[in-house]
C-alpha cells in the first residue's frame, strides 16, 4: 500500500471513462473521496480542497495490474527494490503488481511473504501482491508451505524462472493448492528439451551459433499442465506463453471448459527473433526466448479472440555488468513495467488492431480475474485504483526515462505513443503529469 | 584518366639506346655475363629486366637469369598506403654467391631500393648487389646511388616521372607529368 498523500478529494474532470466490465465508455467526471469512487457524472462539483485533474482527451480506466513482476527484494537490491520497482510500476500506469518469488532467498515460506507485504506497506508506491514458490527453494523436489504463505498474503504460487520438471510434483502441487483455493502459475519449460538454450531454436540459433530453446520445450509442459489441471481441478495460470502452439493448446482447453488462464508479454507480442543480430544484444535475451513473427501474430490473435486473458510484463531488472556478459552467460529478461502500456497503445491501439476497451480488459480486468484479485470497476463505491492514460503522449524509451533501478530494456530507443499520466492507488495520487509523486 | 605529359624526356629510341648502354656497362663492370642475375622490381622494373636480359643475349650471346621481386611487404610506408595488388616474387635462381643487379625504372627517394635490398637479403646472401635504373630523377632520401643510369632527369618533387615500357604499355618512353597529387610517387 502506498504511503499517504494528504488529499481527501480528487476530481478527475472530463476524461473518457472506459471500463468494459460494466460496458462503460463515456465522457464524465470522477470524484474520488477517501479512497473510494464517490461519484461519477457530468459537471461534478469539486469539494473544498479537492485536487482537480483535467482529463480532457485522456482515458480514465480501472487501475492496471501486472501479474508478473520481479522486484528482486530481498537479495538483489542493486537491481530493483520494492520501492523502485513500484515506482516503475506507477510510472508505467500500474496500480498493482504481483511479485514473483525467485528472490534471494526464495519466497517459499510465510515469513518471506510477510516481509514483502510489510515492506510494501512502508515503501511501495502501488499495491504489491506476493506470489509464493510452489516448491521449497524452487527446486521442484518438495512442496513449499503454500498454506502458510496464503495466510501471509500470497495470491498465487509459482516456481517462475524454472519449470517444475517432474509431472508428479506438479500434480502434487495442484492437488495441494486446492486446499487453499490457490492458483498455480506455471512457467513452462522442460529443461531436458531446453538444455542450455538461449534463443529460439531455428534461424537465429543457427546463424549466430547459439544454443537453441525449442518451442516444444514450452509446449510439452503447457500440454502437461493443462492435463494436470483437468485432473486436479486446480486453478492454473500459464505464464508468458510464447508460441503459437501454446496458444492453440489453451484455446482447445478453454473450449473444453477448463478453467485456465494465461498471459503473454509485450516483448513476445512485439518482438521476434530477427531482432537478435550480430551484435548479440543481451537485452533481447529472454526466457522463454523471442520467437518468430508467426508466433507474435498468434499471440495477438489469442488476445483478440479471448484465448489469452492478460498482458503481463515479466519485468526482469538486471545489473548492467551482468547483462554485459557474453550472450550465453548473461541473465534472461527485460524490464517491462514502464514500456508495456506504451507498447500496447502504439502497436495495437494506434494501428486499429485493438480498442482501448480491449486494452483495459487485457491489462486491468483480465489480470485481476486470472489471479482472483479483488475486482476494480469504475463505479461509485468502487476502490479508487485508477489509471489515467494520455493516448497522445509521446515516449522515447531511454535509460534516463526509467524509474526502475535497472535499464535492461529490449525497447531502448523506441518512440512510442500513449502512456499513463495519472495513477491513483486507493485514492492516493502516486503519478501526476507522468511524474511519480514523491512523498 | 591519363593526363598529357608536360614533357617527354626520353622517346623510344632514347630508351632503346639507354638499355643498350646499360647492358654494355653491366658486362663491362662484371667482366662478362657469368655469375650475374637480374632482379626487376615489379612491375616496370621487372619488364625492364627482361628487356635488359634480351639485350645482353644479343650482345654477348649469353643467358642471364631474370627474376622479379615484389617489395610490397618490405615497404616502410605501409602505414600510408597498402599495395592492393601484391605480385608474386619469382627469383628462379640461387641468390647465394651471385652478383644481383637490381633493376627499376625510376630511381627517386631510394626507399624502394632499400626495401628491395632487404628482400634480396632474405632470399640469400648475394656476393654483391648492383643497381640499374632507366631514369634517376634525384631527390634521394637515403644514401643510395645507381651503378647504371639510363638518363639523369632533374625534376621537381611535385612532378611525376613515369617510364613506359613495351611489355606493359605497348611503347617505350619516359614522361614527366605536372600533377603529382593524383598518384603520389613514393619510390
Amino acid at each position: 500500500m502506498p504511503r499517504p498523500v494528504p488529499t481527501d478529494h480528487i476530481l478527475l474532470r472530463g476524461g473518457r471513462l472506459i471500463d468494459p466490465q460494466i460496458d462503460l465508455d463515456t465522457v464524465a467526471d470522477v470524484l474520488v473521496s477517501h479512497g473510494e469512487i464517490a461519484a461519477i457524472g457530468e459537471d461534478l462539483e469539486a469539494p473544498k480542497g479537492a485536487v482537480v485533474i483535467e482529463c480532457a482527451e485522456k482515458l480514465v480506466t480501472p487501475g492496471l495490474v501486472d501479474v508478473h513482476t520481479h522486484l528482486r527484494q530481498p537479495g538483489r537490491e542493486d537491481e530493483e527494490t520494492i520501492a523502485s520497482g513500484t515506482r516503475a510500476a506507477v510510472h508505467g500506469g500500474f496500480t498493482a503488481v504481483c511479485a514473483m518469488p525467485n528472490t534471494d532467498p526464495i519466497a517459499d515460506e510465510g515469513a518471506a511473504i510477510r516481509f514483502i507485504v510489510e515492506t510494501a506497506e512502508q515503501e511501495a508506491y502501488c499495491r504489491v501482491h506476493p506470489i509464493g514458490a510452489i516448491t521449497a527453494a524452487q527446486k521442484g523436489e518438495a512442496l513449499a508451505e503454500i498454506g502458510d504463505m496464503c495466510a501471509a498474503g500470497a495470491v498465487a504460487f509459482s516456481d517462475d524462472g524454472r519449470g517444475v520438471q517432474r509431472a508428479g510434483m506438479m500434480r502434487l502441487a495442484m492437488d495441494y493448492a486446492r486446499t487453499f483455493d490457490a492458483t498455480i502459475v506455471a512457467h513452462c519449460e522442460d529443461e531436458s528439451l531446453v538444455g542450455r538454450g538461449v534463443v529460439n531454436e531455428g534461424v537465429v540459433s543457427t546463424r549466430l551459433g547459439l544454443p537453441g530453446w525449442p518451442k516444444a520445450g514450452e509446449e510439452t509442459q503447457v500440454a502437461r499442465d493443462l492435463r494436470i489441471a483437468e485432473l486436479t481441478r486446480c486453478r492454473l495460470h500459464l505464464a508468458h506463453l510464447s508460441t503459437a502452439g501454446s496458444i492453440a493448446l489453451v484455446r482447445e482447453a478453454k473450449a473444453a471448459g477448463l478453467g485456465v488462464t494465461c498471459e503473454v508479454t509485450p516483448h513476445h507480442l512485439f518482438l521476434h527473433e530477427d531482432a537478435i543480430e550480430a551484435d548479440y544484444d543481451t537485452n533481447l535475451k529472454m526466457n522463454p526466448p523471442l520467437r518468430t513473427a508467426d508466433d507474435c501474430a498468434a499471440l495477438r490473435q489469442g488476445l483478440l479472440d479471448g484465448t489469452v486473458d492478460c498482458i503481463a510484463t515479466d519485468h526482469a531488472p538486471h545489473a548492467r555488468h551482468e547483462k554485459a556478459l557474453e550472450f550465453e552467460l548473461a541473465p534472461f529478461g527485460t524490464t517491462g513495467l514502464e514500456t508495456a502500456l506504451p507498447l500496447v497503445a502504439t502497436h495495437m491501439v494506434a494501428t486499429g488492431e485493438a480498442t482501448w476497451a480491449q486494452v483495459v480488459e487485457w491489462m486491468a480486468a483480465g489480470p485481476r480475474r486470472s489471479l482472483s484479485l479483488p475486482k476494480v470497476t469504475l463505479e461509485p463505491g468502487g476502490m479508487a485504483d485508477i489509471t489515467v492514460i494520455d493516448p497522445e503522449a509521446q515516449v522515447v524509451v531511454s535509460e534516463d526515462w526509467f524509474e526502475s533501478r535497472s535499464a535492461n530494456s529490449a525497447f531502448l530507443g523506441d518512440k512510442l505513443l500513449g502512456k499513463a499520466s495519472e495513477v491513483l492507488v486507493g485514492g492516493r495520487l502516486v503519478l501526476r503529469n507522468g511524474k511519480v509523486v514523491d512523498q | 584518366m591519363e593526363s598529357r605529359p608536360k614533357a617527354v624526356v626520353m622517346d623510344a629510341e632514347a630508351v632503346s639506346r639507354a638499355i643498350t648502354r646499360i647492358a654494355h656497362e653491366i658486362l663491362e663492370a662484371n667482366k662478362g655475363a657469368s655469375g650475374i642475375g637480374l632482379v626487376g622490381i615489379v612491375t616496370r622494373g621487372a619488364a625492364l629486366a627482361e628487356m635488359l636480359a634480351e639485350r645482353i643475349r644479343e650482345i654477348e650471346g649469353a643467358e642471364v637469369p631474370v627474376g622479379m621481386l615484389d617489395i610490397s611487404f618490405y615497404r616502410d610506408d605501409l602505414a600510408m598506403r597498402l599495395n592492393p595488388e601484391v605480385h608474386r616474387t619469382d627469383i628462379p635462381f640461387a641468390i647465394e654467391g651471385r652478383t644481383v643487379v637490381l633493376v627499376d625504372d625510376v630511381l627517386f627517394t631510394g626507399r624502394t631500393i632499400r626495401a628491395a635490398m632487404d628482400a634480396i637479403m632474405d632470399y640469400g646472401r648475394p656476393c654483391s648487389i648492383q643497381l640499374a635504373v632507366l631514369v634517376d630523377r634525384g631527390h634521394r632520401e637515403l644514401p643510395i646511388r645507381a651503378d647504371y643510369v639510363g638518363k639523369n632527369v632533374p625534376s621537381s618533387s611535385r612532378e611525376r616521372v613515369t617510364a613506359r615500357l613495351t611489355p606493359i604499355d605497348g611503347r617505350d618512353a619516359v614522361e614527366i607529368f605536372e600533377d603529382a597529387t593524383d598518384r603520389p610517387e613514393v619510390c
Binding site: G212, A324, E326, L329 | A79, L82, V86, D122
Partner: protein
C-alpha cells in the same frame, strides 16, 4: 584495403575481398617456403592473441603469422588473463584497449564475444573462433587449400561431415563456399545438425554413402567425444560405421576428390588412419595454408592506416 575493420563473420568480407585474401596469401606462402621466413611488414605493430579457450593449433598459427610479419605478438590465454566467467567482456575490452594494441585475435568459448570486444575498442579484431558461431580464418585457409588442389573454387561440391551444429568451422565454411560459387552439402545425423542448415546456405544429404560420389571434397569434422551424457550418437564405433571416412568410402569418390579435416583428427573415428595418411588427404596443406592466410588477413587489415 578491406572495407571491414574486423574479420569476425566470414560475411564481413565480400566475395572480392575473399579472393584478395587468398591472392595475398599466395605471396605469403612463397615467403613461408624461403630460408628466411620473415618480413618486416608489420614492424612495430602489436598483435594480441587473446585465447580464452584452449587452442594450441590456431593460436600457434596466428603466432607464427604475426612473427613472420615482424609484429610484436603477445599471448593472453584463459588461464593467464583475469578473464573468467563473471568478468564482463567490456572490462576485458577496456583493459586490452588501454594497452593500445593494433590487432586482437580472439578465441572465445561463447558466440558473439569477438563482436562485443570489437565494439568496445579501437583495435582491429580477427575472430579466432567464437563458441559454436564462426571461425573465419579457418574457412579462408580451407578455401585456399581447395583452390590450390583444384585450381578453382567455383563449381566444387564440398561435403561437410559430422558435428555441424557445434562447429564454428562449419559456421564459416558453409557461407564461405557459397560466396565463391561452390556447393556445401552437410552430412550428419540430425542430432548433430543445426535447426536450419539452409540458413547457412547448406544442402543436406541424408547419408554419407549417398553423398560421396558427388563430392569433390569430403570435409570431415572432428567428433567431440567428451560429452558422455546426452551424447548425440550411441557409440564411437557406430558413428565411424555410418559417418566415418575410410578406404572403402574413399574408393566410391571421384578419383580427384580430396579429404580435408580441420584437425586434430580422431583417427579411427571420423577418419581412418590409412585415409588420413593417404595422398588424398590434404590436411597438412591446410595447416600450411593457415599461416599464409592469417598473414594475409593481418596484412590487409593493418595496411593502409597510420601507426598510432
Amino acid at each position: 584495403m578491406l572495407q571491414t575493420r574486423h574479420i569476425i563473420d566470414i560475411q564481413d568480407l565480400t566475395a572480392d575481398e575473399v579472393a584478395l585474401v587468398l591472392d595475398t596469401a599466395e605471396s605469403f606462402k612463397e615467403v613461408n617456403e624461403r630460408r628466411i621466413k620473415k618480413l618486416p611488414t608489420l614492424r612495430g605493430r602489436t598483435v594480441v592473441n587473446l585465447f580464452l579457450e584452449p587452442s594450441t593449433r590456431t593460436r600457434t598459427s596466428f603466432e607464427i603469422a604475426a612473427k613472420r610479419l615482424s609484429a610484436d605478438g603477445i599471448n593472453m590465454t584463459g588461464s593467464a588473463s583475469a578473464t573468467v566467467k563473471g568478468e564482463s567482456l567490456a572490462d576485458t575490452a577496456s583493459t586490452i584497449a588501454a594497452m593500445a594494441c593494433d590487432l586482437i585475435v580472439v578465441r572465445h568459448k561463447y558466440a558473439g564475444a569477438p563482436r562485443i570486444l570489437a565494439e568496445k575498442m579501437d583495435s582491429h579484431v580477427i575472430n579466432g573462433g567464437d563458441g559454436m558461431h564462426q571461425h573465419p580464418t579457418q574457412a579462408l585457409l580451407d578455401l585456399f587449400t581447395m583452390r590450390e588442389a583444384f585450381g578453382k573454387l567455383e563449381g566444387l561440391t564440398v561435403g561437410i561431415v559430422g558435428d555441424i551444429c557445434h562447429s564454428r568451422v562449419a559456421g564459416s565454411l558453409i557461407p564461405a563456399l557459397r560466396m565463391v560459387g561452390a556447393t556445401p552439402v552437410v552430412v550428419a545425423p540430425p542430432t548433430l545438425l543445426p535447426a536450419r542448415p539452409d540458413v547457412l546456405g547448406a544442402e543436406v544429404a541424408s547419408t554419407l554413402d549417398e553423398a560421396l560420389p558427388d563430392l569433390d571434397v569430403a570435409y570431415m569434422l572432428r567428433v567431440q567425444m567428451e560429452r558422455a551424457e546426452g551424447m548425440p550418437f550411441p557409440s564411437v564405433r557406430e558413428y565411424a560405421r555410418f559417418f566415418g571416412m575410410n578406404r572403402a568410402r574413399l574408393d566410391t569418390m571421384k578419383p580427384h576428390a580430396k579429404i580435408m579435416h580441420p584437425g586434430p583428427m580422431n583417427r579411427g573415428v571420423e577418419i581412418s588412419a590409412d585415409v588420413a595418411d593417404s595422398d588424398r588427404a590434404i590436411v597438412l596443406d591446410q595447416v600450411n595454408a593457415g599461416v599464409a592466410v592469417r598473414m594475409a588477413a593481418m596484412y590487409l587489415l593493418l595496411g593502409g592506416e597510420a601507426i598510432a
